[in-house]
């Protein structure tokens, strides 16, 4: 009988981890549907530094001071309070109670800081909720953000509120812990409200809060895959693999280099690979890094908020582009789950999700790339889709066709003769 809670706990834990691993595998499979990445993964030290600075150190977040500081609090709180998870899991599996409490003062110091962080997180999350729902910051609202993205953003905040409250309540109703008077900095203030209950009911309370807390955490863990909150994991690989070259550099397509070399007589036909299609019309034409980008997107809207096209009322929104990719890759993933392999569903990223109008509005200004707190590059996706429109679909706006034929015929985007290149000095 004694062992029943331990067995239940271990079973729940294993099932949650199992689900989580299954989703991670699905994630990896979907990301690997993408093509190879042109930028070599060289200069690892620089990449590690980027990851430590941008993802771990949150360096980009403080470009917006208020949101930045609040986010750092929630993030630190999340990491620090989760140390307590080690104790909770050991207690759960082996039926112990506060196994680390024998560490004495140090234990008090740890739990004390967790409790303080829990309160700070609660405050920050409440401010986030106010910003999102009462002040209604423009950045959180656009067509794409209606429905699940909005609910998702709120759910995450509710999760945090519930988990932090349960953590404090669990400590407050733990009579043994309160009597130790070691680390109960916050819960010690809540405890007096419970003193009228008997020791037995307090114990029931404590157990209930304890179970709800850990089950809540396990649910949250499995919620990640379906949420923008996935960024708490993917921000790390994303900042590691993110480009370390000058932002102005747009990759040279190797497949095109081959063709051009043939045309210029520098190489022969045999070297080119068959069935290359130029540019991207669907998720499978994008690189794995671009797909990883899409899964990592926090939907924060910093990109869209600084996009000159979006600011002046054009349809283009770099955030929407990233969210569309994730929606589409999920759709493709589901088809594969159902059929074992991909079956054409007559849908494409271009057309069914992203319109040509959006793509042609981009000025390639790199503001979105600069602003993204986790090194996502919406511009590279836009460029790859333009490449498809021009090179596979020949559907450029007419004026651009004029510009291009000018370059082709007289080496300038305007119809001036190349022989007249020195006339500026007349």
């Amino acid at each position: 009988m004694q062992l029943i809670p331990n067995i239940i706990f271990s079973t729940i834990l294993l099932i949650s981890i199992g689900f989580f691993v299954r989703n991670l595998k699905r994630l990896r499979r979907n990301i690997n549907l993408g093509r190879g990445q042109t930028e070599p993964i060289n200069n690892k030290p620089q990449r590690w530094r980027n990851m430590i600075r941008i993802a771990l150190g949150q360096s980009k977040m403080v470009r917006r001071p208020i949101a930045g500081v609040l986010h750092i609090v929630v993030y630190l709180g999340f990491i620090i309070i989760n140390i307590e998870l080690i104790e909770i899991i050991i207690d759960g599996v082996f039926g112990t109670h506060r196994i680390f409490s024998s560490m004495g003062v140090f234990y008090g110091f740890l739990i004390g800081s967790f409790e303080i962080f829990a309160v700070l997180v609660l405050i920050s999350v409440l401010i986030f909720w106010f910003r999102r729902n009462l002040i209604r910051l423009k950045r959180f609202y656009e067509l794409k953000m209606i429905g699940w993205p909005k609910l998702d953003a709120d759910l995450i905040l509710y999760f945090e509120i519930v988990l932090m409250s349960l953590f404090l309540l669990m400590n407050a109703t733990d009579v043994g812990f309160q009597n130790m008077n070691n680390g109960n900095v916050i819960s010690g203030m809540i405890y007096p409200y419970f003193t009228e209950f008997s020791i037995e009911s307090l114990h029931v309370f404590e157990r209930t809060f304890w179970w709800l807390h850990i089950i809540g955490i396990l649910i949250f863990l499995n919620y990640l895959y379906y949420s923008k909150h996935l960024h708490i994991i993917l921000a790390f690989p994303n900042t590691f693999y993110g480009s370390i070259e000058n932002k102005g550099k747009l990759n040279n397509m190797n497949s095109v280099t081959n063709e051009v070399n043939i045309m210029l007589g520098k190489s022969n036909e045999s070297e080119i690979s068959e069935d290359v299609n130029f540019g991207a019309s669907d998720v499978k034409d994008l690189s794995w890094l671009q797909l990883l980008n899409a899964y990592s997107c926090t939907e924060c809207g910093r990109c869209t908020n600084s996009c000159p096209a979006n600011i002046t009322g054009k349809k283009l929104s770099p955030r929407k582009i990233m969210m569309d990719i994730r929606d589409r890759i999920e759709e493709v993933g589901k088809i594969i789950d159902l059929n074992g392999s991909f079956v054409d569903d007559n849908k494409k990223l271009i057309g069914d999700y992203i319109s040509e109008e959006e793509l042609w509005a981009c000025t390639s200004c790199n503001a979105c790339v600069e602003e993204c707190p986790i090194s996502i590059n919406p511009l590279s996706v836009i460029m790859d889709m333009r490449r498809y429109l021009i090179m596979e679909n020949s559907s450029a706006p007419g004026e651009l066709n004029n510009m291009m034929s000018n370059i082709e015929n007289n080496g300038a985007p305007w119809p001036y003769n190349q022989q007249d290149r020195l006339n500026w000095n007349e």
């Binding site: 210029l264 200004c365 503001a367 021009i390 651009l400 370059i407 300038a412 190349q418 500026w424």
Partner: protein, 262 residues
């Protein structure tokens, strides 16, 4: 206006000499009336510093940037490869250009295709001349005047060149009055990504108007920039002010020429 002293790299080759730098003029600098004035201003600076420079003249062709950003990688690489062939045949080592788009393309995208050069934006090159003591700027007509600066995307965010142009504005003793959105947060003028060559998509307003309004809110009556396309966009944008609120748009090189009365 009298003709400026210029030589093509071909002229140098015929004399059995080589120039210190190649001045890559660019399409706008060669053909656009407003941008030609920037080209001339920079040549005056080069001449006053006694720099031996050559231009490609009729051997110069579009770098391919607008084609690449429109999505035509094919046309871009055709342009790139034939330009690289020309540049390498003249054994060019150092290139200076007044256009951030040419600068970005030659610096970042040509090396993989076989074109490896030391590439400078003219504001960087003028700073280099100052450092080496080959050119000097001390104050002049703009002393104490407020000047603001618009960061071209392809110079600023794309290549992190923020200080070179600002340093030159300080050298002419003007008071730099920054725009609200500046440096890495600067707002685009609206021309990049081949937008220069087409009408913009449907929206509430034009990007250059949005930027011009921001410039209008700045106390400076002169806006400096370092890109012929930004120059055109901002000139058009600021012209739209109804109240004859005159803001003048100049390239940093033009300001130096005026300051020094070259």
């Amino acid at each position: 206006m009298s003709k400026l002293k210029i030589k093509t790299v071909e002229d140098f080759q015929k004399e059995g000499k080589s120039a210190e730098i190649l001045f890559w003029v660019g399409c706008a600098g060669s053909f656009d009336d407003r941008a030609k004035r920037i080209t001339k201003a920079f040549v005056k600076i080069l001449n006053s510093a006694n720099i031996s420079f050559g231009v490609l003249g009729k051997d110069e062709s579009c770098t391919g940037d607008p084609a690449k950003r429109a999505g035509n990688e094919f046309l871009f690489q055709m342009q790139a490869m034939s330009n690289i062939e020309v540049l390498n045949s003249y054994e060019i080592k150092t290139i200076v250009t007044t256009c951030p788009h040419c600068f970005n393309t030659i610096k970042n995208e040509y090396p993989e295709l076989g074109g490896v050069y030391e590439v400078y934006h003219h504001t960087q090159f003028i700073n280099k001349l100052l450092e080496e003591g080959r050119f000097s700027i001390d104050g002049g007509t703009f002393r104490g005047k407020k000047i603001t600066y618009h960061d071209p995307c392809f110079l600023g965010r794309a290549n992190k060149v923020y200080n070179a142009p600002r340093n030159l504005i300080k050298k002419i003793d003007a008071e730099l009055s920054e725009l609200k959105r500046c440096k890495s947060k600067a707002l685009c003028c609206g021309a990049g990504g081949a937008q220069m060559f087409k009408e913009s998509e449907k929206g509430e307003k034009e990007i250059n108007i949005e930027r011009a309004n921001e410039i209008k809110d700045n106390p400076a009556k002169i806006v400096a920039t370092g890109c012929p396309f930004c120059n055109t966009m901002l000139t058009d944008g600021t012209k739209s002010f109804e109240d004859n609120d005159t803001v003048e748009v100049f390239d940093v090189a033009e300001l130096i020429v005026k300051a020094k009365d070259l």
